[in-house]
């Protein structure tokens, strides 16, 4: 899994949707796009900011929502490094329909009930459903049986809302680097697990970070879920994709 990306000073020129941009060798297409104010949707890849407490960008390559066409072939923008002369298609009808389909699949795979969710309004999945104008999914629901874990004193873990992106698996670790979250089983039985012993002793800051990096409402910091009222949440103000470059860091790593 390419978790971190090394960049060099070599400058690469490529185009995204016809716009010529420059990027550093070693950057991914996603990073290059972000740096140039071009929006490519993501659910698993996450740019490191002061706010989310990440030390470097993560790109598990699991959600596939950032699929773009590179010289005619579909590739994940978050894991494909830029190369000289790449012609990237991103905001096209075909690709946006692919993305919409993935959003629909994620909705029917889990049990998402937006009106009652603490993350409503700041949930990336919900925001993407709005962006791609999903009315009702064209697929039938799986009605999968998923467990809720409310044992830990600081975190509520609701698997119904989990999209298995693995941000938590990669990002939330103990000081000595051990994973607090893991990925269990495979196929339609796949899921995220919590190391309950380790999660019990999670700090306030880490609990906050865990809720923050979760793109949906699967990881909720107990007793803080409704601190920000509806209407004042992230995507209540501006739809997803309208602010490409992170304002806190201006696209720079903190």
């Amino acid at each position: 899994m390419s978790e971190t990306i090394e960049t060099s000073s070599e400058i690469i020129t490529l185009t995204i949707d016809g716009q010529e941009i420059q990027a550093a060798a070693g950057q991914t297409i996603l990073q290059a796009a972000q740096k140039n104010g071009i929006y490519i949707p993501t659910l698993c890849a996450l740019h490191a900011t002061k706010e989310n407490g990440l030390e470097s960008d993560i790109a598990p390559g699991t959600c596939r929502i950032c699929t773009v066409k590179v010289n005619g072939r579909t590739m994940a923008a978050c894991t494909t490094p830029v190369a000289q002369g790449f012609v990237v298609e991103n905001d096209t009808e075909e690709l946006n329909d692919l993305r919409k389909t993935i959003v629909e699949l994620l909705f029917v795979e889990g049990n998402h009930f937006c009106p009652s969710c603490e993350k409503s309004g700041s949930c990336d999945l919900q925001a993407l459903a709005y962006r791609y104008q999903m009315l009702s999914p064209r697929f039938r629901y799986a009605f999968s049986s998923r467990e809720v874990n409310a044992e830990s004193p600081k975190l509520l873990f609701d698997r119904n809302r989990c999209i298995l992106c693995r941000r938590c698996v990669l990002a939330i670790r103990t000081e000595d680097g051990k994973q607090l979250f893991g990925f269990t089983k495979r196929g339609d039985k796949s899921g995220i697990i919590m190391d309950e012993e380790l999660v019990k002793n999670i700090s306030e800051e880490q609990a906050q970070q865990a809720m923050h990096i979760c793109p949906v409402g699967a990881i909720i910091r107990k007793e803080k879920g409704f601190d920000t009222p509806f209407g004042q949440r992230k995507y209540d103000q501006n739809p997803i994709g309208s602010e490409t470059v992170c304002t806190t860091c201006n696209g720079e790593k903190s």
Partner: protein, 610 residues
Amino acid sequence: MSEHIAALSNIAAKYDNDPNRLLDILIDVQTQERCVTDDAARQLAREVGLSWADIHQTVSFYHLLSETPRGEYTIYLNNGPVAIMQGYEEVAAAFSEAAGCPINSVTEDGRIGIFATADMGMGDQEVAALINKVVFTCLTPEKARALVKDMQEGLSVQDMATKYGEYGDGNNSLPSIGSMVRNNIQKAGPVCFGPYEFGVALRKCVTLSPEEVLAKIKASKLRGRGGAGFPTGMKWELCAKAPGPERCVVANADEGEPGTFKDRVLLTERAELFFEGMAVCAYAVGASTGALYLRGEYTYLREYLEQVLDQMRADNLLGKDIAGKAGFDFDIRVQLGAGSYVCGEESALLESAEGKRGEPRNRPPFPAQSGYRAMPTVIDNVETLASAAQIIDKGAAWFSRMGTEESTGTKVLSISGDCDRPGIYEVEFGITLGELLDMAGAQNPQAVQVGGPSGRCLNAAEKDTPISFEGCPSAGAFLIIGTERDLLEIIDNFMAFFTDESCGSCSSCRAGTWMLRNTLRRIRQGQGTREDLTSMRQLSAVMQKTTKCGLGHTAPHPILNTMDNFPHLYEALIPERSDIRVFDLDASIKAANAAVGRTPVPEEKEEEQL
């Protein structure tokens, strides 16, 4: 308790508490304790310096590992397509009844566990089962009942095997294999099963420079036999040129494609040739580390393969200064898998060989740049490596004269299903579907699944289709489905297989596979609509464009191929007025009653439906 803790420590210590050897550690723990419990996972985590989550991730990924105890005798019964054609249901019922526990559970006394498992490479002798790593073939309900009786009486598995089946042909009867598995070599061709003398290829190889070896492989136009068909010479060259202090050669013997068993026979009968091929590759790319990734289902071949490796070391064909060539050092170890189809994908195989979940890696980097433990690595199929050794011995021209322009040489096919002569056929590329059907004695073929579920489902009437990379590529499976079969039942089995075997990592594959399976099932139950057909095509296109690895790209093939080549099968299942979603009031009431546990509605209340 402390004894138990010590036992785990000893196992971890045997592998130097190396987290990269976690899979070996877990396999040994599973063998000894019949499970890897949470407590054991916590202890192992400390021993090898990982977190509990790390260990759990790996344990829960593999079919042959378990967190709850499996039986003292654990039966893994193949429920793949050929097994179903040969009577899986009856055999499963017999095992289950005689043992007194349902499939996928363990008897109360913990003695016998029965688990359905994906294809285990015995397509020519189904129904097959693995009982504590020993293979049992050609099972019938009577044999199943007799085996359960033996287990209840405490017979050893090896004794059970010799009691019910004589040893198979060829090397299967060697003491180090001692298995009832048969080779069924129906047609031996000139390359993989052709004349061969131990050590000749490797001794010739070291008289050439690595560049000359590469040039020979390139000139032969050999392409990978695992399915993708990447030019072997180019792959080796990429690895040879990749920067790095150490390089690696990995042989992919994970053949998990239902209906494929050619590697099993090659490993049994041509291990020397194939290992020589690995060494030839090592010489060409400058590798010093070698690993054979052997699927867990083939553990019964391990001892034999280790013996062959020992013999090669004794003959200076492995180890230091191989074949007298100063500085040519290379050795091979056997890495067992633990039951997972996706591990046949090269980058997933590397993850697995490093002790992790067998999930495909994000690429780039490609294995040739950064593979096993970050070394530039060549991963090749068993058949590819065996062919490479023959090319060095007999020449590129000899090889490229066979086959077709773009597909030189021969292909080893595993033919199974509805035919008189199932088994192994080594044929030249370009052979047609019709010729193969005749050779195998297929009386009434309806369809042929070429290359397993991820390959293509052809209408048997398309007799002129050539088997080649440019025609119809095949990784080796050739499953014949007779006219009397319900083809969509087999397709259903394939889709269930992909749903189980998807690593679950990327969303479009994880959700796409079960969605396709469910939609097909609905259609088969007569509840499908035309919209479902469209939605299956749309979903397939999304999977082919967005999934991370080949499993997701190819998982829609069975459905797409049958929709294209057998449209009448779907037409017959879609109700005429399927443009209107039918609402069956009585059926809905019954379902609702069942859900809340009310008394069912009396049958006579059935009314005329809209």
